[in-house]
């Protein structure tokens, strides 16, 4: 029994040393080729499993939600009509705006994004990390640093890529930071991911007015993300007079649990990686 216990202790020590060595090597980037190789091999399997899981989940959700879906359909139909009217008014405002800018000699450039749709095949297995794996990579023009969006706003950026996969760091990951600004006051700050799927906008100057419901957009500072992408909406303001800066809790408009297709911007080159 003692020999057996001694053997298991020796094995623990050996494997613990190997694990710690792996941590060090990974920090130095030495294990990236191995990781890339594994992900390239497993991405097709994850694509199949994910497809099955989505169908199963969709079937159960549909059956459970039939009643609720009818009510929601009626509500959304009304909302569509309201939004149509609003679009018409906004289009008129845009026309007037353009005309005024031209009169002032001001030229505004709207970026034309080259968007590549990619399918989500996997998520990080940890509850503390927010990464997605998608089914396209360098073969389709995706590079490390490529920005990823969905119609509801900024999703994240590509941090690792192979020929047939990309790994995306979501903005809600605790290691992610995005330079942002408040749409109303134009006050700038940094939005960092937090446990629970929200973001914390930090370094807002004390004199700035921060309101609940304020939209938060990318500021373009630092060059990692294009300017003007939606990051989220302010849901809580933390302001103390004794602090140098204010903070705001920001909630993304994206439903991260239901992501199936996301879009990689191929024609935006980040100036540097954070």
């Amino acid at each position: 029994m003692n020999g057996f216990r001694g053997r298991s202790v020796a094995l623990v020590i050996l494997l613990a040393v190997l694990s710690l060595l792996a941590l060090v090597l990974d920090k130095a980037g030495a294990l990236s080729p191995l990781r890339t190789m594994v992900l390239q091999a497993t991405t097709p399997i994850q694509w199949v499993v994910s497809g099955v899981a989505v169908r199963i989940e969709g079937t159960f959700t549909t059956i459970q939600d039939l009643g609720r879906l009818r009510e929601e359909n009626a509500r959304l139909s009304q909302e569509v009509e309201d939004l149509r009217a609003r679009v018409v008014r906004l289009q008129e405002a845009e026309i007037e705006n353009r005309s005024l800018r031209e009169q002032l000699g001001f030229r505004q450039t709207y970026p034309a994004y080259d968007l590549l749709p990619v399918e989500v095949v996997g998520r990080d297995p940890s509850n503390y990390l927010q990464y997605l794996t998608v089914d396209k990579g360098t073969t389709d023009g995706i590079r490390v640093g490529s920005v990823v969006v969905v119609p509801q706003g900024l999703l994240g950026r590509v941090v690792a890529v192979g020929s047939n996969f990309s790994k995306i760091l979501l903005i809600t990951d605790a290691s992610s930071s995005v330079n942002v600004l408040l749409q109303s006051s134009r006050a700038t700050g940094v939005a960092s991911g937090q446990l629970g799927g929200t973001l914390l906008m930090k370094y807002i100057p004390q004199g700035e007015v921060v309101r609940l419901g304020d939209m938060v957009l990318t500021s373009g500072l630092g060059g990692n993300f294009p300017k003007g992408l939606i990051v989220g909406r302010v849901t809580e303001v933390r302001q103390k007079d004794i602090e140098l800066f204010q903070e705001a809790v920001v909630e993304s408009l994206i439903d991260f649990q239901r992501l199936e297709v996301v879009y990689v911007i191929r024609n935006f080159t980040p100036q540097r990686m954070e």
């Binding site: 494997l15 792996a22 594994v38 497993t42 998520r123 509850n127 990390l129 690792a160 605790a174």
Partner: protein, 167 residues
Amino acid sequence: MNIYLSVIILVGGAILQSSLAPHLTVIGVKPSIVLPLVVAWSIIRGSVEGVTWGFVGGLALDLLSGGPVGLSAFTLLLVGFLTNLGESSLFKSSLMLPLVAVFVSSLLSDGLQVLVLQGSGWNLDWAEAMTRTAVPSAIVNAVLMPFVYVPLQWLSRRTQGEGELQW
């Protein structure tokens, strides 16, 4: 048991945890598949195999994850070792031991992971992580455990004659 079968089970578990488990979110957390596998095998077959399963399963998770490689390998091999410290053949046939073991192991593994992630630059609050994520995760893993432990007991009986992990 044949090492290749072990690797298939563990790598398959890691793939399921990254592709299937996110669609089965319960009380805000994803169930773990590899951790219950490691705890169950450690109880059934002892610490040597439990440690090996922890290392291999953890490494598979790390290679599919965006976090540091070696993180899950380290935490799960410790889980495989420590699970067996309270071993008693009297309790192996009861489901209480595996349920308690996976609950405690889940808390331990998550606690260690958060500490290492904090040290690696992730902005995580340890207390918030434990209350908000680790405890619900431990509960979910304990609920999942019977569905892992019983099949592995059967597999162990089928492969008992092969002795310890064979290379």
